[in-house]
Symmetry: C2
Subunit: 385 residues, 2 copies
């Protein structure tokens, strides 16, 4: 599907059983790479490694294991990364600095290096799987608590853009906590790829939140093999990349731990777009708003509360709120003609929109989230993630 | 119990039935007052009123109703406050500017003014209830989702300090979302009372968090009737006030919606005390940490995650974490000799302590919170608060 990319995944049983959990992607010589990483100050060893080799701008392989994040594992964690990249570099005959690594799963448990090396080697040896199967397996191989594998694609002229992603918890500000790998056969210098990826991430993965928690391992990588030549229309390429990233980001929200509803939060009338985004996040991250949505309760007072706590300029006496298309509040009080019944009817749908106009300027932003249910508690009070 | 304070409460049935829901406190002439209010940019009409009259420094009455917050009610809200203070001022023969008001409950629903005026008038007429009963009734009259009435007292030389509080949800940074009224017969000029109250609130109500949400109505008021004379030992008075405020703040956390555990989060080794507090809050507000505590799961990796997302300086490779007295992490990895069994044993207790040393300086702070359980979802997906 993307010229210059070969995928191999295996069920190594590192933590999960009966499903693929190690992915190796081989990338054609000349592939450029761009990356965006977690804002966490306690990043994982793989994130440290990717940050270190990214300035080289060249990639020949990606390797990812699910089940153990190799985060907060000290020097042992660094040794695991070294063992991994050396194994892949030897198998694919490239430099270790051209091998990108991502790990996801439990934090703080050392990896078993000998087991890991065997698994990575086997995945590299599995690069000849037929095409249709391998993308789906690749998407499954990077999952943890995900309930479905996530993939998206778009074309940009002769080039393809294909992405996979994982994530359903620890999804929060400054990069939704997750992994995503996007592959294209368009030819882009690494600096141009970095600009395009940063733009796409800011409008997609950085606009979704499940639980306001941020992981140690957030990683988005874009690989450009170049087989389809340079994009003739860079804007079209950017658009395709945005589409793929936004599709994947929305899939992560839909798979939010325990989620039963997909919630679009839009804020208008803020001092600027950044202020609007902060207010939208305050609404989207509020446990009280999220439980009200879960209960299909048109409790718009909780949206007022969230606007108030966001710390951004808002004119209480001009504040307006909509649940779906039903206006609940206008000019700082109950809107004339508001029908709680119509608002509740909207909340019964699986896709909910909440809109607030804070009445001070022209800034606007949209953030996507899910509701907060018993399912979230079940998953996170039971699963060691 | 506090000379110069008379309490009256009645079951007006404004929202709740079979329990007191309106409180009037009459304060002796000469009573000074200090206040601390919500940081919300959408404050309720009663908060607006209190902020406006506080500079006068004098109080003759407090009136509080539970069930309707009179927040986000526009000009109608202002009229409700005016009707309330005028009714009380007429009943107690004082100026409206000496009447302090607080409301708690649903946001965005207009109050029924005629019903409210009758209720407030009746509460003012009930000022002659016997002493022992009235403090408990006063504490009950200000409750909403609280499962128990909250009171605390201490003495400071000849003076008493008695406080009541309500709050169990919307409890968050910058003033735990709640109401608290503290009464003393010590004589303090209003400026000195304000300094003392601000100090006490910063070390108590501002250090607890239940769900990271901040209400529109947070109010702490300190009334000093003066009947016991000026404190001879101001430090002793401050200590007593701190004790009462911390006791009440802890009661609010213990009554956190759905809470089954009382959690003390301490951070040391931060760049300064403020950085330590932010990191402690990131841990205390993390849904993933809170669900792990609920599950009695010694998942210390989630504490690493929370430290990482706090945005404050921390040295990952010197980070140390304790669950109770069991050290889980040292120097950025699993601590030698760590026993998950002992950590789990600690988590089985109703009082849990989590400690992190972030290894960069001498800043430290403690924040108190509770766990996140199915009970929180039940309460907030069911109750219109």
């Amino acid at each position: 599907m993307v010229d210059g990319v070969r995928l191999g995944s295996i069920a190594a049983g590192l933590r999960y059983h009966g499903r693929p959990d190690v992915l190796v992607a081989e990338l054609a010589p000349g592939t450029t790479v761009a990356g965006v990483f977690t804002s966490s100050l306690c990043p994982s060893a793989p994130v440290d490694w990717c940050r270190r080799v990214l300035p080289g701008g060249a990639a020949r392989a990606l390797v990812c294991n699910a089940g153990n994040a190799n985060a907060f594992t000290g020097q042992e964690g660094e040794r695991s990364v070294a063992a991994t990249v050396e194994t892949v570099a030897a198998a694919l005959n490239c430099s270790p600095e051209e091998v990108f690594v991502a790990s996801t799963g439990v934090i703080g448990e050392p990896l078993d290096n000998s087991q890991l090396v065997i698994a990575v080697d086997s995945a590299a040896a599995a690069l000849d799987q037929p095409d249709a199967v391998r993308w789906q397996d690749a998407a499954r191989a990077i999952c943890t608590t995900d309930t479905f594998a996530k993939g998206a694609s778009a074309s940009a002229g002769p080039a393809s853009v294909v992405g996979i992603a994982k994530g359903s918890g620890m999804i929060a500000p400054d990069m939704a906590t997750m992994l995503s790998f996007v592959f294209t056969d368009a030819a882009l210098p690494s600096a141009a790829a970095q600009r395009a990826l940063t733009t796409a991430v800011n409008a997609s993965f950085n606009r979704v939140t499940v639980d306001s928690d941020t992981s140690t391992s957030d990683t988005v990588l874009l690989f450009c093999t170049g087989a389809a030549g340079a994009p003739q229309d860079m804007e079209q390429f950017q658009q395709s990349l945005n589409t793929v990233c936004l599709d994947l980001a929305h899939q992560i929200v839909r798979d939010g731990e325990g989620a039963t509803k997909f919630v679009t939060v839009t804020v208008t009338g803020a001092a600027d777009d950044q202020a609007a985004e902060r207010i939208a996040r305050a609404i989207a991250d509020s446990p009280l708003v999220k439980t009200a949505v879960a209960a299909e309760d048109a409790n718009w007072g909780r949206i007022v509360m969230a606007v108030g706590k966001a710390g951004q300029a808002a004119d209480r006496d001009r504040l307006a709120i909509w649940i779906g298309s039903e206006q609940a509040a206008a000019d700082g009080q109950l809107a004339p003609g508001y029908s709680e019944e119509r608002a509740t009817e909207h909340l019964r749908q699986p896709e909910v929109t909440l809109t607030a106009d804070v009445g001070v300027g022209n800034g606007s932003a949209t953030v996507w989230t899910c509701d907060l249910t018993h399912g979230y508690i079940d998953i996170n009070a039971g699963y060691r993630s």
